[in-house]
Symmetry: C2
Subunit: 216 residues, 2 copies
């Protein structure tokens, strides 16, 4: 059994390793809002428990056991986010903090019943895929909206930035999951993107476009 803290380390290592493997001490420290020295201590402990492979100065990789543990936490996090939005009418920018706490509740029965109650959702309110109880993800293919060319069409199916200000901004612009969009123009001057949504024109910054995920 892992502590709350150990679970958070595993989850963060899991997310970071998607970008860069093995994962570096400083990267973990930044995400955990702690100091590198504390991370080193924890890596030794997780290594002792065979949840990570850790080589001094070289970085850390999850073992199979560590990976499954991490994925299970991600599963719980995302299921709770769906619950909060679908059943308790939370906004998509309000769920993350609470899910950070709920993801540590231990009962397996609870998770499986929650999954069933929510009708086995495949994605969370931000379009992130929800792994099944064996840790398998349905593979969804996304493209960044910023990669689309003029006249290309697609549907908003995710976001790669989860901060409340960003999500609220999208909401205000009407850029929510499921919306169909078409790129009508890409402005030379600043790279901003002009979209057609419901036959209305809308200009968004390149920065925003980079964090909107599209499927065709």
């Amino acid at each position: 059994m892992q502590s709350y803290t150990e679970e958070n380390y595993l989850k963060i290592i899991y997310h970071l390793s998607a970008v860069n493997n093995p994962v570096q001490t400083n990267a973990i420290a930044e995400r955990m809002q702690t100091k590198a020295a504390s991370v080193t201590d924890m890596l030794k402990k997780l290594s002792e428990k065979e949840l990570v492979d850790y080589v001094k100065y070289q970085g850390v990789t999850l073992t199979e056991k560590g990976k499954l543990t991490a994925i299970n936490i991600v599963r719980k996090h995302r299921l709770w986010e769906v619950f909060l939005v679908e059943k308790l009418n939370f906004k998509w920018d309000e769920v993350h903090e609470v899910a950070e706490e709920l993801e540590h509740i231990k009962s397996t029965l609870l998770v499986e019943r929650l999954d069933e109650f929510l009708d086995f959702p495949k994605v969370d309110p931000h379009g992130d895929p929800i792994p099944d109880q064996h840790g398998n993800f349905a593979d969804l293919s996304f493209i960044k909206l910023s990669k689309l060319k003029v006249n290309e069409k697609g549907t908003i199916t995710g976001v790669s930035e989860h901060s409340s200000p960003f999500l609220k901004h999208l909401e205000k612009l009407g850029l929510t999951l499921g919306k169909k969009i078409e790129v009508s123009e890409i402005i030379d001057f600043d790279g901003s993107v002009e979209l057609l949504i419901d036959s209305e024109k809308l200009n968004i910054s390149r920065e925003v476009a980079k964090h909107i995920l599209i499927s065709k």
Copy 2:
């Protein structure tokens, strides 16, 4: 803000003080499954935070602030139990352990939305009253089934023992909340009670009868 551990102490002091006020160190130690010395340490800390009034060797009492904190945890515990039974099809003997974890989740919005989602329940799956957000309980009056005389009738509205074996036993006997019963005989020999439920006779031990709560 209190730690998970502090919250558990406050909740236990709250429950114990209903039986015996001020609450004694050893009583707390037993309920917390810890040692008296650890309790003394924590009482000093809670006293420091003005959550309890503590006099060395004399025992401890909750302050108004401590009491409200404790009641809020009880509120969350019971709401989550309702959720587990009503929405996730848990049995009444399966909910307590999970609720022990869920009761510490911090979001106020979550609690109020959950309350609404559950349609503002007044009692939990064991018949225990759920306080409102201000800490007020609807006052329900119970009598122990063991206090009823022959020919008296009533409805099962609660239990005063929450262990899984006891609850499963009641379930098997059909003695669930809402059932109407009548005492048809009290056996001299062992004090056991003969009931009429749905015109069927059922004999239960005095020990069981003591933990079933009746309203008329």
